[in-house]
Amino acid sequence: MTTLTLSRALNEGLRKALEANAKALIMGEDVGKLGGVFRVTDGLQKDFGEARVIDTPLAESGIIGTAIGLALRGYRPICEIQFDGFIFPAFDQIVSQLAKMRYRSRGAVKLPIVVRVPFGGGIGAVEHHSESPEALFAHTPGLRVISCGDPADAYTMIQQAASSDDPVLFFEPKRRYWDKAEVDTEGGLAAALPMDSARVLVEGSDLTLLCYGPMVRTCAEAAVAAASDGRSLEVIDLRSLAPLDVETIFASVRKTGRCVVVHEAVVTGGLGAEIAAQVTQECFYSLEAPVLRVGAYTTPYPPSRLEEHYLPDLDRILDAVDRSFGY
């Protein structure tokens, strides 16, 4: 076991992925010499060379499109989009080509591409640099959308994503890059939880709290706070947003009878809406309260002075828990 930051854990995971498969490549803006804005790819170009860790021009559509071409010829590109809000120039390539090509070719081609996206706010970094666009991709059939919440998952999930034969949108919780935890870098991937499984992070009996990415830590803290009020919250880190591990969710809600979904993304049309609909449909007779959602308000991402009012926090999560128990 080694103590690593989430950023460093991703770095170690990427190193493993490059070692594991000679066809794996890293490409993106300033990922080589600079080592990435968040230093996730730090040192990899030095160790693997400029042919495998490629500094690209500033051209997101070109990066993803080129990666698709590389994948068609057997390579396994791992692309970095520097910030969440920079993914939109590449949206067309992701939605129109990356997501659909396998289906369109009736399985004749595979596109083993990882698109890494630092996402979410909490670092005072304003619009384009703090956004949570994951629902747009979870809504797109053909893509796998996953997010890690802690260094251990960061280390394994980035490797699982790199070895997946499907395109994977990998959302990295930007404000947790500096969180430290013990990571097992010796054990292989065989024993690791698959990347499309949810994880019960905290077991509880009174309410199911669903979260992913940056909200995982906040929800774990909420469970501790709620315990002091005598409430036992079950915290589930969804990890995979598309496909959703609905069985783990349903089993928990059938047990607790209450469910709150938490994400940083805007509530309107967000993943919480999809989860609420599915839980309502499948767990209707177990529910003691409507499924509640906690997320960002329906406004564009605010300037940094207003960020603390905008982002879901412990108070807003506990407020939703209170509301659920009010039924």
Partner: protein, 365 residues
């Protein structure tokens, strides 16, 4: 540096030259203080400075008429100052305060002031290029070519010439003959990547050839060369509806943003930058030509420092926006179902018209 003998300076109005120096000194003082304020956490978000680009800023803005529209990048503090924005309001915007140019909502990267026809900094690379093209289209609709017809200047960085929107915009502007001047402010680095490693044609102005768009490269450290090239290009836009792709070459003195330590730069490069710093160079040039003496130069420098100190005080005295202001201006017209779901709001609607159904916290029902 052009004209070491000062011959071209002799043709200039000395007061105008001193004004260029004053602008450059103000930008330098402002940006150094902005960097300091960032490290003191007075400024949130990201903060990109014009340090090393002062001659380019002063030269480009000197070429603009008051009626011209300027679209900038996220490295735009200096342009706002040079176009006449009050330093206090610019600093307040950086601080995220109510007295800022955009009442603190835009921040460092999104300075906007329609009074001075600064149509925004843009926080995402290339975001401004199609917009500037559209603004030029609007000008072409409204009036014919004339020596005093307004035009658009669109700034972009060197790395922006690699994105698709740049090429789409240049094609449209050339095809439709729009009154716009695109200016590549080439500071030789796209964050940490040198131009040569990112552009297959590193003489970036030549990229206009694909659209039959004339252009040229000028020394961005030479305020007069920048001004004259920009003026000629703007004249071409005004009178012939011919867009131009201008390239100014300078070098930023610090990292990409305040938080970038610029580790990709060697000690020799840093030393060269110090030697080629446009501000002391221009000062020296003016003093040599007799336009400025040491005493006046020191006076201008100290006035710049005082103006910036006053700007910081002004920004500090302005309140930050209230939390409830988060919801202002999301829509231009009332949006009836825009539920806020703040903690403490009733869960169930008291009546048919108001608010959400149960089950939604933090967004519309």
């Amino acid at each position: 540096m052009a004209d070491p003998a000062g011959e071209d300076l002799a043709r200039e109005d000395p007061a105008v030259l001193r004004e260029y120096y004053r602008q450059m000194a103000l930008i330098r003082a402002f940006e150094l203080r902005a960097a300091e304020m960032y490290t003191r956490a007075k400024i949130g978000g990201y903060c990109h400075l014009n340090l090393g680009e002062e001659a380019t800023v002063a030269g480009l803005t000197a070429a603009l008429h008051a009626e011209d529209f300027l679209f900038a990048t996220y490295r735009e503090h200096g342009y706002a100052l040079a176009r006449g924005a009050d330093p206090g309001r610019v600093m307040a915007e950086l601080f995220g305060r109510e007295a800022g140019l955009s009442r603190g909502r835009g921040g460092s990267m999104h300075l906007f002031d329609s009074q001075i026809r600064l149509m925004g900094g843009y926080g995402i690379v290339g975001g401004q290029v199609p917009l500037a093209t559209g603004a030029a289209f609007a000008l072409a609709y409204r009036g014919g070519p004339a020596p005093d017809a307004p035009a658009v200047m669109c700034l972009l960085g060197d790395a922006t010439t690699n994105i698709g929107a740049f090429h789409e915009s240049l094609n449209l502007a050339a095809l439709w003959r729009l009154p716009v001047v695109y200016v590549i402010v080439n500071n030789q680095l796209g964050m940490g990547t040198p131009v040569e490693a990112a552009a297959a044609e590193p003489e970036l102005w030549k990229r206009g050839c694909a659209y039959r768009m004339p252009g040229q490269r000028v020394d961005g450290n030479d305020v007069l060369a920048v001004r004259d090239a920009a003026r000629a290009a703007l004249d071409c836009a005004r009178m012939e509806r011919q867009p131009t792709l201008l390239e100014t070459v300078s070098y930023r003195l610090r990292g990409h943003s305040v938080v970038d330590p610029a580790r990709y730069r060697t000690a020799e490069e840093t030393e060269r930058l110090r030697r080629e710093d446009p501000l002391p160079a221009f000062r020296h040039r003016l003093i040599t030509a007799g336009v400025l003496d040491e005493e006046t130069a020191a006076e201008i420098d100290s006035e710049a420092d005082m103006a910036v100190a006053a700007a910081v005080d002004f920004a500090d005295a302005s309140p930050p926006p209230e939390g409830a202001a988060l919801f202002d201006h999301v829509y231009a017209t009332p949006a009836a179902s825009m539920y806020r779901g703040l903690p403490g709001d009733p869960v169930a609607a008291p009546g048919p018209a108001a608010g959400p159904g149960p089950g939604s916290v933090g967004g519309p029902a």
